[in-house]
Symmetry: C2
Subunit: 408 residues, 2 copies
């Protein structure tokens, strides 16, 4: 869309490298996942929020009119990172539980003992909507500093009408992509899972469907079973929401077949997925969202990333940022974990947290690549080789983020 | 040492918490390792580079004369972190090797193929001394931002007289604690390990002993065996150096018995240490330095931290910062790994990278605690609970560092 006034332009020049997932498909699978296009001694021209041109400095044509310039010497540019799985809307923390687990208690033990998700539900219900907005803003600020320019955020720490809807409003108002995780757990005041789902679908879904883009459920022993998940997701789909599932985190409970049957966008976690699940996912259009920071945080096995990719499944990487099982907002750290723990190439990791994550959020036509026409969301890395994204483990690798052509 | 002029004073006030390893011993062992003293609503008064007072705000007495003040609201203070094992003096990087390993090549395969340490030796020899100083300065800057205020740095990427001595001078001039790792590997121009050690001990040690505080050796299949290590370390001890050993990283090759026999300060790595090694170390004064970022980076097993601590061994944590096997300068991330991968309590992790690490560097009387008379080296964490140090995985947790009573 062209404006009558002069367009805003930002030229990022003299970059050591520009690196982007190649091609135009989404999600990238198999060998295409590892195809990264790298331009050395490069520029990126942002025009009115989109990428207007990208290429080698020697091919840069003279620009007339006003252009802001940004010196990229010694830096490399990658697409703004896309975090497609976070629980960024919560109050309080779970540092006590973390310290207990470090001394030996298991996640399921802590959950059974009344810690776990429900302790965050108590804190989140006690916050008001402005408090939730502040929390989301703080967390998104951390993510932005780590290079994430598009972030999904789920509700799910309310589990009552008021707090679930306040969470979705807070997420929307802070610019994140809202997912209604109305079935994150059964709240303490409810008799059982089915009764809670009756309530949630009757009383919360109608308004949640106007606020959220997708629905999600925690399909796991102790939370919701496959039959309950089918009922919840069917209703959410009928209300116009895209579908996501938490599945195979602690037990294989049927999430992958259900995700495929319902045409879900993704099934997320997969730490316990076996060969059958790998094959099924590879034969479908459902993306497997891998969350290695969560597996690390809980001291759990890593998901079978290599098997999934080699079988041809679409995979994405995300942080799972949340206070209990992954207090980690850093996609660069997730890329380091992918390269060291998931046997993913650095190029595969980049595609998994850019274009493939954008696909999970229904945004792959505009997000996740540095190519003409895409949104001008960039991360400038403080390294002349873009692969420091994964190589510099725990380092402050992000020099600057650019969102919609504006410095961040 | 008191000056004639008024002392420089810095008051850090209204801190949510001050947390420090308890007691006065070093190294801390067994249950003492997990004893952290926490003061809520606290202040720390720094006077002429030392800690002059620490306590609760309500007990703060009126201060006459000039005092700089720092608002600690919402923050917690821990001792400046001590990184007792780094290879911070090198040129170049190993990002190509990292990317190859991510796609499946093993560390030993890359080493055997002419990558590994020797590729960094080539790059480091090609740098001049000013280039090495700049590299050390850049790396120490990264470490300081991550909260490390005392850092050991090893030579070992020269393996010739000129570059080894230039490395030690660069390390000293930038304020790190220098260790001569003259036996990091056998250089390409040498016929064999014994011939190289003959050269190093005759031609490099006399000057290295004037520049370094300790000597270190890589005792490992493919590098140096126990007999060679004994000869090298005996000579270094005779020249006045404290002793360190890299041991049990890939194979148990006798490092622990040798370290005990020679009275070494530490034996570092221990990823492959078995029950016998654990028992032996626990019965000795040698500290086990654990490097979980290295194990993570290489996708290797973690060292048996819990067994060592429970058996009564002294343990420290360090980054192992180096370009090949741990491109990671972050002790906060190491603490997260300790809590999630090593089954160490957060309190144990804190002691292991403060007072116990200071002991390995012969500095435990001045470094590693927030207590009257200790050096005024502090880290202010961007959290009101100090345990976010380990809990906030990959987060930008360090708000500010204070070194010798001066803001960073």
């Amino acid at each position: 869309m062209s404006a009558a006034s002069a367009p805003h332009r930002l030229l990022v020049r003299d970059l050591a490298q520009v690196a982007t997932p190649a091609g135009t498909d989404a999600p990238l699978r198999g060998s295409a996942l590892g195809q990264t296009e790298v331009i050395e001694d490069a520029y990126v021209l942002c025009e009115d929020g989109r990428i207007g041109a990208v290429g080698r400095m020697r091919d840069l044509e003279r620009l007339d009119g006003d252009v802001d310039e940004l010196d990229g010497r010694g830096k490399s540019a990658i697409p703004g990172l896309v975090d497609c799985h976070t629980h960024a809307c919560f109050a309080g923390d779970r540092v006590d539980e973390f310290a207990m687990r470090a001394r030996g208690a298991s996640y399921e033990e802590l959950h059974a003992a009344g810690g776990g998700i429900l302790s965050t539900v108590r804190a989140t219900r006690a916050a008001d909507e402005e408090g939730l907005r502040e929390a989301v803003r703080r967390h998104l600020g951390w993510m932005r500093r780590s290079g994430s320019t598009t972030v999904e955020a789920k509700s799910g720490y309310g589990l009552d009408r008021e707090t679930e809807l306040a969470s979705l409003r807070a997420i929307r108002s802070e610019g994140a992509v809202p997912t209604w995780l109305g079935a994150h757990g059964v709240p303490p005041e409810s008799d059982d899972a089915d009764a809670y789902l009756d309530f949630a679908l009757a009383e919360v879904l109608p308004e949640a469907a106007r606020l959220a883009e997708a629905a999600d459920i925690f399909l796991e022993r102790g939370a919701f079973d496959a039959g309950q998940a089918r009922r919840y997701l069917d209703a959410c789909r009928d209300a116009g929401l895209a579908l996501r599932l938490h599945g195979d985190q602690f037990t294989e409970s049927g999430a992958i077949p259900l995700a495929i049957e319902l045409g879900a966008r993704s099934v997320d976690h997969l730490e316990t997925t076996g060969e059958g699940g790998v094959s099924a996912l590879a034969g479908s259009d459902v993306v497997g969202v891998l969350l290695p920071a969560s597996a690390l945080f809980l001291g759990r096995p890593m998901p079978p990333a290599r098997a999934l990719i080699d079988a041809g499944a679409g995979v994405a990487l995300a942080t799972d940022f949340n206070p209990g099982s992954a207090f980690c907002e850093s996609l660069p750290l997730v890329c380091s974990l992918a390269a060291t723990q998931l046997r993913m190439g650095v190029e595969e990791a980049l595609a998994a947290c850019t274009v493939n994550a954008a696909h999970v959020l229904g945004r792959a036509e505009r997000k996740g690549r540095i190519a003409v026409g895409y949104d001008a969301d960039l991360v400038l890395l403080d390294a002349s080789d873009w692969r420091y994204l994964a190589y510099h483990l725990g380092g402050e690798i992000v020099a600057e983020t650019i969102v919609g052509g504006h410095r961040g």
